[in-house]
């Protein structure tokens, strides 16, 4: 396979939120990957900074795993470059590998090996010796709650246990960057909650975490920034809030609940320039104000009360993340 051109050819995308004073620990530039004529990833560029938790969202086959495998040095890009902690993953994969922890979506179990032996092997392979090795293994087993099943054979583990073990292995060498591919897949609700707590704990330690999933709500709660990929193209990079309000333009949408007959509100709207009825329901209506400026919104509310509309609730309507994503995809 031919290598990508040298890095730094393409500038970072304009929508990537830069973190002042920090150099990116993950830098992806113009990344593309083609498999026998099918372009799995197209010109993907983004930066992630130390301590950031980023969600990588897209449908199955959108290019998440391909991108992450290239980042993990397990595949080669057709064009573009990836740097992990300054190390180019194509030219210096060995240097990048020791700085990253990769948790694949499909975890392969070694035959004839116990949980402890598995972690002990990886601790040895990461270069830990003597008491340091024993300490790392014990710490990781404690952290991932594996101590009680240390003597279990790997091929007898449940999905949740295997995921915890895989995460434990990923953390053994204390990597700066964690690439987690669908880590919560197959976990029960309790394990999912624990996993979210674990991710925040790791982010608190300054680790940069990229988590892929196709479930938006799952990631929105624990990620600082979200990357949306569709058809191999990065369509959005920003916070969950920025996605929810993306495409709204200058208009602001508010839910207004009234006491009594909601028709009073509808009649009021008809008389107001700059206000539009989006949707009427039993308790009131969803209104769109021409301007989202706080002064303008406040003036509308004041006028509504002055005109005798019995308002009991007035709040900004939040779009569901999934709806926002679907709308964005339609536009793309």
């Amino acid at each position: 396979m031919n290598p990508p051109p040298l890095p730094d050819a393409a500038p970072a995308p304009a929508f990537a939120p830069p973190v002042p004073g920090l150099a990116p620990i993950i830098s992806v530039r113009g990344l593309s990957r083609t498999f026998e004529g099918v372009q799995a990833v197209r010109d993907v560029s983004f930066d992630l900074y130390p301590g950031q938790v980023a969600g990588f969202i897209g449908a199955n086959g959108a290019g998440k795993t391909t991108t992450m495998r290239i980042m993990a040095t397990l595949d080669l890009p057709t064009t573009g470059s990836v740097r992990i902690a300054g190390a180019d993953v194509v030219n210096y994969p060995g240097r990048a590998r020791v700085r990253l922890g990769w948790m694949p979506d499909a975890f392969g179990a070694h035959e004839h090996m116990t949980v402890f032996e598995y972690l002990d092997f990886y601790a040895r392979a990461f270069g830990f010796v003597h008491a340091e090795r024993a300490r790392r293994v014990a710490e990781v087993m404690e952290f991932t709650d594996l101590t009680s099943i240390a003597a279990r054979m790997m091929n007898t583990l449940s999905k949740g246990m295997a995921q915890r073990l895989c995460l434990g292995r990923t953390l053994l060498h204390d990597p700066d960057v964690l690439l987690l591919d669908e880590p919560a897949a197959g976990l029960d609700p309790k394990a999912r909650v624990e996993f979210k707590q674990l991710v925040r704990l790791l982010a608190g330690e300054g680790k940069t975490i990229l988590i892929s999933s196709h479930i938006l709500s799952e990631l929105a709660e624990m990620c600082d920034t979200i990357l949306f990929i569709d058809g191999g193209v990065l369509v959005h990079h920003g916070s969950a809030e920025s996605l929810q309000h993306a495409g709204e333009g200058r208009a602001a949408v508010f839910d207004v609940h009234v006491h009594g007959d909601p028709a009073a509100l509808a009649r009021w709207v008809e008389l107001q320039p700059g206000v539009r009825l989006v949707d009427a329901h039993q308790r009131g209506a969803r209104l769109s104000f021409e301007s989202s400026e706080p002064e303008a919104v406040s003036a509308h509310l004041r006028r509504m009360l002055q005109d005798g509309v019995p308002v009991i609730d007035f709040h900004r309507a939040s779009r569901k993340l999934e709806d926002a994503f679907v709308e964005m995809l339609k536009k793309v």
Binding site: W102, A109, R124, A138
Partner: protein
């Protein structure tokens, strides 16, 4: 932290007391060896073979005791004894490596090991050494019975120990061979299994020869031959381990250079042994076979233009770049390497009077043509073909079919047909085995023409590749220096 500098005891952690110590293997052992041994001795194959070996050994010794008590020939069971010992050491355990690497790939476990500090070579070597260690365990298990045979059966203990040693060496080579094969997809592995067994047996040929001659009183094997046999075993082992490594290593690693340097090492061994002793022509042939295998692997390699591959050579100036042009991975550097290798071995074979006859010359040139012609056709006609191997096989099949046709013809037709067929080097190679053939000079001319044409075509089509290589060399000098390894981690034991 190092093995010589033990750390203070780790602080007690909650739950840590429930954990095993993990000190069943010392830290200085390769992590892969530890893993493979932990897994390997639990496999059904190992346990079954070990128990069966013990049962068979007990039976052999009991029978020998019985025969000795009745005054019979106590060495009657020698054949059975060595068959029982040889079966696991030379066949079962080496063959069990055939699924070693590919099995890990299919189980999705190898990629995670790549992401540690273990290099691809350390992974492969660790697996191979674990297999060899298992053989060593079998040998150790056999030793008490060997001593019993000495006391009861009156065998020559030194000879038997020597045979056991050579068997162990053969096992190491065969294990490496299986390891190299195991890096290929299962279908190919299955197809090559037969070749493995045949190749293994032929590799054992000189070993058996040395053993027999060494074990026969008055015909002691010269030290040069023993050194040659050991070197050949080492070279084959190294080559097969590198073949496996190259299959799984990141594209930024240059394992072609290691393989080609092994071929050069083989040439130097043959040269030195040839100068000090007259009886080492076998070593020359084996090292030549190794070099041919290296050339074949190199000619089938795709070109890679990753700048870091070129950097170590480009940094050493003009000389480094010249050396690099023989050692960069890819078919385009394998072409000059192959030509130089054949020139060097040609001179050595001629010096040792092994290339004097017309028949030997045809073999030599046809072998070169067999390597060059398919590459020339593929690179000239379908340089971007995904399945070049299929094309190779078609050429080989055509050559074999043409050769068979030429060989089964009656004498008149044979004379007419053999020369045109000889333009296909593999066909010429096969036809050369037919002793009734009489057109050696014409065949030599035909096959030489093919080799010359192939070489010319290859040199012409490599021009573009050389241009890219020069660009990659220049690009590699602009490459940023690799960032240092993180200091918070301990070095690899």
């Amino acid at each position: 932290m190092t093995a010589a500098d033990p750390s203070p005891p780790a602080p007690a952690l909650p739950g840590a007391s429930a954990l095993p110590a993990g000190n069943d293997f010392p830290d200085w052992l390769s992590p892969m060896l530890v893993k493979e041994l932990r897994q390997g001795v639990r496999t059904r194959v190992f346990v079954t073979m070990f128990i069966l070996l013990q049962v068979a050994m007990l039976m052999t010794v009991s029978l020998t005791l019985l025969v000795a008590a009745n005054g019979g020939d106590t060495q009657a069971g020698t054949g059975f004894f060595w068959t029982v010992v040889g079966l696991p050491i030379l066949f079962v355990l080496p063959l069990s490596n055939l699924g070693s690497i590919n099995g890990e790939i299919r189980a999705n476990t190898l990629e995670l090991i790549f992401l540690t500090r273990l290099t691809a070579f350390r992974i492969v070597a660790g697996k191979w050494f674990a297999s060899f260690t298992q053989c060593l365990l079998f040998v150790c298990a056999v030793l008490p019975y060997l001593v019993l045979r000495y006391f009861i059966g009156g065998v020559d203990l030194a000879v038997e120990l020597a045979i056991l040693g050579w068997m162990l060496l053969g096992s190491a080579v065969l294990s490496a061979f299986a390891m190299g094969m195991s890096a290929y997809p299962p279908r190919v592995v299955r197809a090559l299994t037969a070749l493995f067994i045949m190749g293994g047996l032929s590799l054992l040929g000189p070993v058996v020869d040395v053993v027999i001659r060494g074990a026969t009183p008055g015909t002691a094997v010269g030290p040069a031959l023993i050194v040659g046999a050991l070197c050949c075993a080492g070279l084959v082992t190294g080559l097969m381990l590198e073949v496996a490594t190259a299959r799984i290593a990141p594209p930024a690693e240059n394992h072609s250079a290691a393989m080609r340097l092994l071929a050069v090492g083989g040439f130097l061994v043959a040269l030195v042994l040839g100068l000090v002793s007259n009886g080492t022509t076998g070593v020359t042939f084996y090292t030549f076979a190794i070099a041919v295998a290296v050339c074949a692997v190199g000619l089938c390699e795709p070109a890679r233009w990753i700048p870091s591959l070129f950097r170590p050579f480009a940094l050493r100036g003009w000389g480094g770049r010249m050396v690099g042009r023989l050692l960069y991975p890819g078919w385009y550097t394998a072409v000059p390497f192959t030509l130089l290798t054949f020139a060097a071995f040609g001179a050595l074979l001629r010096h040792q009077h092994l290339l004097g006859s017309a028949s030997a010359s045809i073999w030599f040139v046809a072998l070169l043509g067999t390597l060059l012609l398919p590459v020339a056709l593929v690179q000239a006609l379908m340089p971007r073909a995904k399945r070049a191997l299929v094309f190779y096989l078609v050429i080989c099949l055509l050559s074999v079919a043409a050769a068979i046709l030429a060989m089964v013809c009656d004498n008149v037709l044979k004379t007419r047909f053999e020369t045109p067929v000889s333009f296909l080097p593999l066909a010429a190679l096969i036809v050369q085995m037919d002793h009734s053939s009489t057109v050696a000079t014409a065949r030599f001319t035909a096959v030489t023409c093919t080799v010359a044409a192939s070489a010319l075509v290859l040199l012409a089509v490599t021009v573009r590749a050389w241009r890219r290589a020069r660009a990659a060399e220049a690009e590699s000098l602009q490459l940023a220096v690799a960032p240092p390894l993180p200091v918070h981690d301990a070095p690899v034991a």
